[in-house]
Symmetry: C2
Subunit: 367 residues, 2 copies
C-alpha cells in the first residue's frame, strides 16, 4: 500500500490514540512528514509477510519527554541523519524501516526518513502502543539488543551507543537526550527480516490509519467512536475494548524529571458518580487507572483518553484541568502479556505495587 501525504493525518491521529498519551503530539510531526512525502514521493507501507527474511531492518523514533517537543522544533533531517550514521557504523544499508512504537510522532518519523531514502516502512511496530523506555519494546523483550544505536539532535550532534544490554542503553541515551535539550531522535535495533517478523506487533500502522480515519470524521463523538473502534480492534491482535469512564479532569499533578514526563491525573466520573474519582498514573504514557481502590486498567493494556465531544485523542502533555474526556481501555496483544513481557512492561516495572490483571478479567469482576 502506498502512503500519500493525505494518509499522514490519519496515521498521526490513530497513532496518537493508540499511543496511550505518549509518542509525541502529532501536530509538528505531521507537517514535517507531509512535506517529506510531497517532496520525495509516496512511501510503501509493507506488510511484514512481504519482507525478505534476509532484509536489514532498522527502527527509528524519538526519545525524550513529550512535553519538550511542544517547544523544541525539529530540523526535519534528524531521522535521516540517525539512519545514515547507524548504517555507516554497521557497514550495512537498511532495506526497510520500522517504528519502535506507535505514537503521534513516532509512527511518522519512519515515513520521513523512508521518503527521502525511497525505502519501505513496515506495517508494524515494537510496542503496539507507546511506552517510555527502550528496553520495553517487543524487540528487546525477545532478546534483540537495541544497540548499536545512534542518537542525534536538531543541530547534528550525535552519538553511536553500543552496550552490553538494552537497559544500560536506555540509561545512557536518556541522559544524552537530556544533554541534547530533553529530546533527540534515534536509529536502533538492527534486525533481519526473519527476526522482525517474530518480534513485532503486526499491522499496527494500518490499524492506526483506520482508527484515524474514523477519528477524523467530523460528526464523531466518543461513544460513536468506541463503536467504530470495537469493529476495528475485533479484527486485530488486540483484545477487548472497554469504556472505563466518562468524566472531567479535576487535577493534573505534573513534573518533568530525568528525561520523562510524570503525572497523576484525577478525574470525576460524570456517568457513575457513586464510583468516585479515577486516578491515572503517567510516565509519558497513561499507565494505570484505579477508581475507588479498584484497578480499572493496567499497563501493558492500553489506556487511551479522548475528548468526549469530538473523540480527539488527548496526549499526556496536553491534558489539563476541566477537559471533558472519555477513558477507553484496550487489551494489549498477546505478545505483550507473556510472563517475560510482564516482567518488563507490567505495572511493577513502573514501581506500581500491583500485579498485572488482564482488562477482560477486571471488567468481568466489575459487572
Amino acid at each position: 500500500m502506498k502512503i500519500s501525504p493525505d494518509d499522514i493525518d490519519r496515521i498521526a491521529a490513530g497513532s496518537a490514540f493508540l499511543a496511550t498519551g505518549g509518542g509525541g503530539d502529532p501536530y509538528v510531526g505531521s507537517l514535517v512528514a507531509k512535506r517529506a512525502l510531497s517532496e520525495f514521493g509516496d512511501v510503501e507501507l509493507m506488510d511484514l509477510n512481504d519482507l525478505a527474511d534476509s532484509a536489514i531492518v532498522i527502527a527509528v523514533g524519538g526519545i525524550g519527554a513529550p512535553v519538550i517537543s511542544l517547544e523544541k522544533l525539529p530540523n526535519g533531517r534528524e531521522q535521516d541523519w540517525a539512519l545514515e550514521h547507524l548504517e555507516r557504523f554497521i557497514g550495512k544499508s537498511a532495506d526497510a524501516l520500522i517504528a519502535y512504537e506507535v505514537g503521534g510522532v513516532n509512527s511518522l518519523l519512519t515515513f520521513i526518513a523512508a521518503a527521502r531514502r525511497g525505502l519501505p516502512v513496515l506495517d508494524g511496530d515494537g510496542m503496539g502502543r507507546a511506552l517510555p523506555e527502550m528496553q520495553m519494546t517487543t524487540f528487546s523483550i525477545h532478546g534483540v539488543n537495541g544497540t548499536p544505536m545512534v542518537v542525534v539532535d536538531e543541530h547534528g550532534n550525535n552519538a553511536v551507543v553500543t552496550t552490553c544490554d538494552t537497559n544500560k542503553a536506555e540509561r545512557i541515551t536518556r541522559n544524552i537526550a537530556l544533554a541534547m535539550g530533553g529530546q533527540c531522535t534515534s536509529a536502533e535495533s538492527v534486525m533481519t527480516g526473519a527476526l522482525v517478523k517474530k518480534v513485532s506487533i503486526p499491522k499496527s500502522i494500518t490499524l492506526s490509519m483506520e482508527i484515524g480515519r474514523r477519528l477524523r470524521m467530523t460528526s464523531n463523538n466518543a461513544d460513536e467512536f468506541i463503536e467504530d473502534l470495537r469493529e476495528l480492534i475485533d479484527k486485530s491482535v488486540y483484545g477487548v475494548v472497554e469504556k472505563l469512564l466518562v468524566g472531567k479532569v479535576v487535577d493534573v499533578e505534573r513534573k518533568t524529571e530525568g528525561g520523562f514526563d510524570y503525572a497523576t491525573i484525577v478525574l470525576d466520573d460524570l456517568e457513575k458518580k457513586e464510583r468516585g474519582q479515577m486516578r491515572i498514573s503517567v510516565q509519558n504514557e497513561f499507565l494505570f487507572a484505579e477508581q475507588n481502590g479498584a484497578v480499572r486498567a493496567s499497563v501493558p493494556d492500553l489506556i487511551c483518553i479522548v475528548d468526549s465531544e469530538t473523540a480527539a485523542p488527548i496526549t499526556s502533555d496536553r491534558i489539563r484541568y476541566g477537559q471533558r474526556v472519555t477513558v477507553i481501555a484496550i487489551g494489549a496483544p498477546a505478545i505483550c502479556r507473556t510472563p517475560e513481557a510482564i516482567a518488563v512492561i507490567g505495572p511493577r516495572a513502573f514501581s506500581i505495587d500491583a500485579d498485572f490483571v488482564p482488562l477482560e478479567q477486571l471488567t468481568q469482576s466489575d459487572s
Copy 2:
C-alpha cells in the same frame, strides 16, 4: 626516555600535585599502570619535538567526579577499548598518545594503553594541570574539536560522540558518565603531530616525574618541598611559585552533583592568624582561594594543597576536617592566560564573580 614501573609512582605523585586536587586519586591508577608496564614492557616518553608532524595523536583520560573513583574500580582495559573504538571509527591508528590533563590518574591512563599497544606517550598535556570540563583543554581553546570521542565503562558499554562543538560534547559525555555510574574513560581530540606541538603544554609529564621524585623523598616536609619545587618550576613554562597559607582544614562543604564534585574548603591560617580564614572553591579541582575578602589565587593559576608534615599532595576527594596543610600557588603557563583561554578557564567560566588577576600581581599587591 623510557618509563618503567618504578617511574609510575613518581609521575603519579607529581601529577597529583600539579592536578590542583583533581585528576583522580593516584592509588588504584598506579597499580594498574605498573602492572601494565610489567606485563607489556617500558613505554617511550617522547618529547614533542621528536614527533613527526604527520603523526596521528589521540588524547586519553577519565571523565567524572573524582570521588566516585574511590569506590568504582576500573577493569584496566577501558583506555585500550576507548582507543580501539575511536581508531575504528576514524579509520586511522594512533602513532602516539597524550594525556588531556595532568592528573594522578589521568597522567597514567595513557601509559596503560601505550604499554599494551607499544605506542609512545607524549611529554605534554592539554591543561598543564587538571580542570573539570573538556572544552577547557588548550586543544579545544585553540580550535580542536574534542569529537569524535569515545567513552567506555568497565563493562564495555561505549559511545562514539560527534558534535558541532566541544561544549556540547562536554554536556553529552558528562551525562553519559552519569549513566555509566559517575565515571568513564575517553579517547578524544584526534590531532596531527604538527597541531599537537602548537596546542600542548610541553614537558608536563617529565615535570610531574621530577616533582614526584622530590615528593617521594621520605624526609620531606612542605617547606623543603617548596624550595625544590621553585627550582623545577623555574626551568618550566609555568610562572611563579608562592606559599599561600600554612593552615588547618576547619570545614569542608561537599556535594556531588551533575557528574562533578563541588566543595568549599575553609582553612584556619596557622602562620598569619590576623589574615583570617581562607576559603577555596572546588569543582573537582581547587579553583579559587580568597582570604579576608582578598583574592589569593585564581584559576587558571594552580592552587595545590599538600600535607604540611609530609608534603604529600591532597586531592579534593580526600580533603577533610583537621588536616594540617600547606596551600601552594603556581602561575599557569602563558598559553593558559591568553584572553581566549581566560574566557574558557578564567574564574567567570566557573560562575565565580571575579576577573582573573595573575598570581604574581596578587602577590605584589599583598606584600
